[in-house]
């Protein structure tokens, strides 16, 4: 039985890229589980503004606590973890990713594959686009006896990367991050190796962008939100700068090219979508505790997300950014500063308005999550501004990242259905 709906499970054939990603992730967690034996060093860090290529150039293995938290959400473990953290004195008001992570730690720090995660040798605090990250690693610092390297990434309030902002980040990389990585690993920084990895990143980034932009086709061969979160997985986590990452995106692109040529729609939890009825742009992270149910609320109505902001939290590659091996530290700085949640609200509104036009969307929807003020504060104004600017109606729903108490399925489904009915009615009126 499906754990979410109670319906009998339906076998959905897995595509090559899905299997590949599964193998990659399993391999990564295996490497982590065996780190105490192999002696590989482990660095905990965050997705937005992650320095994967730099870490890889030191042979360290990254652990991303947000990914652990969302995996716990999908595996229905987050509720218990959050309760554990709240029992220990963490407020019910704050980010549930943090509480899920703390709760997981208190219950043995068992990762998504069922193997315990190794303790960090370094906490690499990339303070990019989210204030809570800072407090999160301050809390973890109390649990682990390891150094912390802090990278303060200036906020792009006016949507511009100023020279002194870039210089500030580069100087921190040179004076704080690289020395700490050298200290922890005992290895010297190897700029040539970093350049080689950045080159691989750019290759994979080209293919990721092609995949995301395939949604400009009508009908779209992909869902750029529910499917998109899988597509961004390797890019946003441990596989940027690796041949595995390049191979994954090459495979994924070939599959989507095939899908596009055949006029096939995106894969959904219930198989391939037969008819694209609504094209939507989505702002905000997904809910992870009821991810498939949430997805079905759209797919069952024929609603396809053609572009989303969440898939840009780990970089805005589709707006032209590529890791540039010719300026290795500067490109890392630009990458960190350009992540979606590090952009001021006007830039976010501009981006989504552009998506609505470029992807010929019928509407846009905001999933406002309680846990994430970085995303959520200002979304009600964004809704108004986007409607005014594009003439396209917006919908607004509320849930949470990994706290199952804040996913009210009936309410959310009702809102989505009403919103789509309104789009239908509007379409009828226009015709």
């Amino acid at each position: 039985m499906s754990p979410e709906t109670g319906a009998p499970p339906r076998e959905i054939p897995k595509e090559r890229s899905m299997l590949l990603q599964k193998e990659m992730i399993a391999g990564h967690y295996q490497d982590l589980a065996s780190a105490p034996e192999t002696g590989r060093k482990v660095v905990y860090t965050f997705v937005p503004g992650n320095l994967t290529e730099l870490m890889r150039s030191f042979d360290v293995l990254p652990v991303l606590p947000e990914i652990n938290a969302l995996q716990s959400g999908m595996r229905k473990l987050s509720g218990d973890y959050i309760s554990e953290a709240e029992k220990q004195g963490h407020s019910e008001d704050v980010c549930t990713y943090v509480k899920c992570d703390i709760g997981m730690l208190k219950q043995g720090n068992v990762g998504p594959t069922g193997q315990p995660l190794p303790e960090p040798d370094l906490l690499l605090l990339s303070y990019t686009g989210c204030f809570t990250f800072m407090k999160w690693f301050e809390l973890l610092r109390q649990e682990y006896d390891c150094p912390v390297a802090m990278l303060h990434v200036p906020y792009q309030a006016d949507g511009t990367i100023h020279d002194h902002h870039r210089a500030y980040v580069v100087e921190q990389l040179e004076s704080e991050i690289i020395p700490k990585l050298e200290q922890v690993t005992g290895q010297q920084f190897d700029e040539d190796r970093l350049r080689a990895e950045l080159e691989l990143s750019a290759v994979a980034e080209d293919d990721l962008v092609w995949v995301l932009e395939s949604a400009k086709n009508v009908p779209s061969p992909i869902d750029a939100y529910f499917g998109g979160v899988y597509y961004i997985g390797p890019m946003f986590t441990a596989f940027r700068g690796t041949q595995e990452g390049v191979d994954y995106y090459r495979t994924l692109r070939a599959e989507i090219e095939e899908r596009l040529a055949a006029g096939r729609g995106p894969i959904t939890p219930d198989g391939e979508l037969e008819e694209e009825r609504y094209r939507l742009v989505l702002e905000g992270p997904p809910n992870w505790t009821s991810f498939r149910d949430f997805w079905r609320m759209f797919s069952e109505e024929g609603a396809v997300v053609v572009a989303s902001s969440y898939t840009k939290v780990g970089g805005l590659y589709d707006r032209g950014f590529r890791h540039d091996p010719s300026r290795p530290l500067e490109t890392l700085a630009d990458y960190c500063m350009g992540c979606y949640t590090n952009l001021g609200l006007p830039s976010r509104v501009d981006l989504i308005a552009d998506y609505i036009r470029e992807y010929r969307a019928d509407g846009f929807m905001i999933n406002s999550v309680k846990s994430c003020n970085s995303f959520s504060v200002g979304q009600l104004l964004m809704l108004r501004q986007l409607e005014e600017r594009t003439g396209v109606p917006g919908g607004f729903i509320e849930s949470d990242l990994v706290d199952p108490r804040y996913f009210s399925a009936a309410n959310i489904k009702n809102r989505i259905e009403s919103y789509l009915q309104m789009l239908e009615q509007k379409r009828g009126t226009a015709a």
Partner: protein
Amino acid sequence: MSTELAQLLERVRALFEDVDFTAVREWKAEGADRKAVGHMPIYVPRELIHASGMLPVGVLGGGDRLEIIRGDAYFQSYICHIPRSTIEMALTGRLDALDGMLFPSICDVIRNLSGMWRLLFPDRYVRYVDVPQNFSPDVGGAFWRQELEQLLDDFAGLSGRAADQEALRRSIAVYNENRREIGALYEARSHEPWVYPASELYLVVRAGNVLPPEEHTELVRSYRQLAAAEDRHEQDLSRVVVVGTFCEQPPLGLLLTLERAGCSIVDDDLLLGQRWLTDDVSEVGDPIEALATAYLECSCQTASVYQPEGRRGAWLVESVRRNQAEGVIFCAPSFCDPALLEQPMLVDALAAAGIPHTQFKYAENTGQFAAIREQAGTFSDSIRLWSDA
């Protein structure tokens, strides 16, 4: 109470209750070219605004003195209260006297509020003030110096008057004196809290958010002298430190409630922006360098700023010891990420030091204090009766 003290308190209370910023309007009316720049709580370099001939104005929300009619439509239910009342004040014209607005890096809410300001008021000067979280002079210091230079340029454009080095040094001296006077008041309160009740001291210090600093310094000095001359008797209250109040301010009723419940506040993190720097800024040499160095070396510790050495909570334990407090009250606004994420670390530090504490939350417009009074009263009784702290 002497007439002078009564009048002074009446004045600061009126300033506090006035959500139309009349004092700022009156100040501006005295000169055709006068301008004012608002800023949200916590640190902004007010010296730069002052040296540019403008009035720095602290915007601390509408408290319980403002009915929120439009502000709630901009924020989800799980977001703290200060942005609601601040937007409400702006949309209703109450902040029209401000020619610009600064949003320091307190948290994601205030950060995003800066973007909302840009969208809602595209013709007004808005700037997010990203204070460095790296404290190396060559790295965070260099970044901060450039941010300060940029701010100074912006202010020159806004005021039409570029501040020269001499003007900057004068403003640094003015604010040094202001902070020293506030520090002296806090010090006096710590020795004799019954002479300077928190509910009075708070209003006196807070008045500095809307008055020119020179006038405010005099006002703080007068209050300290007038209160000291009063025949106020020592009370048998518990000495407590209040933390969590650095951004959204508690309603005045809450401070009164704590006092009525038997707690003497001997230290707090209220109105932190006015007391951010813990030592004087150098009045000689390059003033931008002096301000940058002061930020790096003399910033107080608070949840919004990274602490490279760890030891979260050491400052709180130190404050308890220095002020001979018997306990700590965690008093944070609902949904305040910095305060609430910080709290478990501070609790651990207190527990390790054997310092009793209690905790509750508020919103700036909280109107019911019965539960808080009961809790604070019980806490006060318990530390007086049972604690050996």
